[in-house]
Symmetry: C2
Subunit: 331 residues, 2 copies
């Protein structure tokens, strides 16, 4: 039995091996991705992001337990850690999590440190998600650390994006919240047993009111500010107002309510046709990125190493600009 078949049969070893192939962008990885593609498109991809210290990992563990306990769903967790591009720091994360969820054959946890080139992180994440999808996981929780471009890129892949905050992280951290709030479908105030939770909730709700709608909605409809007149098929009132939920992940408080809010969001996505739009965005991004890389790789294959070095040498002497060099090569 080949690797793809074993993966589709939900063999865990095949799953591990495929994920490694895909993370390394190997030939075998691409082959499997192509073979399993007809069996993808069923999973609900949930992105979870937020600053360090918000208790994100514990929340992700609780959500995984929720989907096992309440829904009997198979759950995959992918922890993406772009802040450790050179170390294997992500491995430690695996071990810490495993205590809660190990031994359950319907849970699979994997960490991925970003080692790829520019833009590679979202593409790798997307490919890893397809593998989990084909292996029959109903829920894929993708956790990212931080609040930078990587998180925004990964949020663009997810059907539902949770942004996790916590009381008492200090005013300095507040400064970075405004940008990240705009990608939240659901805003989770974790560690809600801490003092100051009312103030945090009030501040965040204030920022939400000021913030633009999520980029998806922003492109299509507009909420407080209608940027373009709504087009015909957008006239139905399919707006999603970011929900705010309090949790205490360490003892499970609020997790059931959070789960229900996620289900409400899925219903919204299905009924408003946003689910299909999001699927198209994901697949188009994968396709465009592959096309771009393949065109580049084939061009370099055809160009001799000598010709490439010659033009780079001209650029280094500033005899020709990179823009001029591209013109010269492509005519």
């Amino acid at each position: 039995m080949n690797l793809s078949q074993a993966l589709l049969n939900q063999d865990r070893l095949a799953l591990s091996r495929t994920l490694t192939h895909v993370e390394n962008n190997s030939e075998e990885g691409r082959k499997v991705l192509s073979e399993i593609f007809p069996y993808t498109g069923k999973a609900h991809l949930i992105g979870i992001t937020g600053a360090p210290g918000t208790g994100k990992s514990t929340l992700v563990n609780q959500l995984a337990l929720y989907y096992r306990r309440e829904k009997d769903h198979r759950v995959a967790v992918l922890a993406v850690d772009p802040s450790s591009p050179f170390t294997g720091g992500a491995v430690l994360g695996d071990r810490v999590r495993m205590r809660d969820l190990s031994g359950d054959p319907n849970v699979f946890i994997r960490s991925m440190a970003s080692r790829g080139s520019l833009g590679g992180l979202a593409q790798s994440t997307s490919a890893m998600v397809q593998v989990f999808d084909a292996a029959g996981f109903d829920i894929i929780l993708v956790e990212t650390v931080g609040a930078g471009q990587a998180e925004v890129d990964i949020a663009k892949l997810a059907y539902t994006t949770l942004v996790v905050e916590a009381p008492g992280l200090g005013d300095d951290i507040q400064a970075i919240k405004a940008g990240i709030l705009e990608i939240a479908d659901i805003l989770v105030i974790n560690k809600a047993d801490r003092p100051g939770v009312e103030n945090t909730e009030r501040a965040l709700k204030g920022m939400l009111e000021l913030a633009h709608p999520t980029p998806r909605v922003f492109q299509h409809h507009g909420r407080q500010m209608v940027v373009e007149a709504p087009e015909k098929d957008d006239e139905q009132e399919n707006f999603w107002f970011t929900e705010v939920k309090r949790t205490v992940a360490k003892d499970g408080t609020g997790i059931n309510e959070l789960g229900k809010a996620i289900e409400k969001h899925v219903r919204f996505l299905r009924e408003s046709n946003e689910w299909d739009k999001q699927t198209r965005i994901q697949l188009q991004s994968t396709f465009d990125s592959l096309l771009r890389e393949t065109l580049f790789a084939r061009f370099l294959d055809e160009l001799s190493q000598e010709a490439y070095e010659e033009i780079m040498s001209k650029i280094l002497k500033r005899e020709i600009s990179p823009w001029g060099a591209v013109e010269e090569l492509l005519g």
Copy 2:
């Protein structure tokens, strides 16, 4: 006089307009970049990164003042804020900074929020830096917020990378430090008048000893761990040990010493040939990225919209995988 000439004559309005063109990746922007390219290659690009709350912006202000006062250098500051991809939050930063440095014609400050696509941020930064370089700025300070992939990508562009830390940011934040430390040429402990600075310095030095050398050095030599046998031209001992410096940016303490450490790093880069290696990395990255984007754009131009939609429709029905579709299109 055209825009490029005005820019080379150090006209501030031309500089502003060019930066806007370049940030928007307009046709005019690309034209100017190509025209000014022969006049670039002189500036020292210094990257400054670190978590929110470390006083990074104040430190950048002080460094700008240092280069004006001690060296009579012309200084450009580019603040890159990838956490605000959708709002114009970066504008506020401009105003806050301007109090210290406004009125000096040899200082220019600009903020850039990331709006670009995947991988676009490092490329935009690189292009903005070329504009400052051609406009005669000796020192270009590029400040990034956070500790994610964007910071690492931008650090790869800089000749000298400062990572800013501060005492008392809490254990949660410590977790993200390990990855970012590895890109530091100089580690700055700012707010060094705060209690706990000794502990912070001890902890950071311990992490530095454990950490790999910077990626540049890592690729070429190795320090504690020699990954590959050194090649012939690498046999000279051109290693850079990350320097640790304490500052109190709000009153200027330690800024002169930090400035001297940066000069020492520049001498190392020049003497070890690492400066030229870094220049090649920058220019090759610009060239490859342009080539990749141009090949893709031309291919899409030649492909009809109809043909593209047809193949996307097959992908959406999962009749063909994105990998299969690329094969079909490129034969």
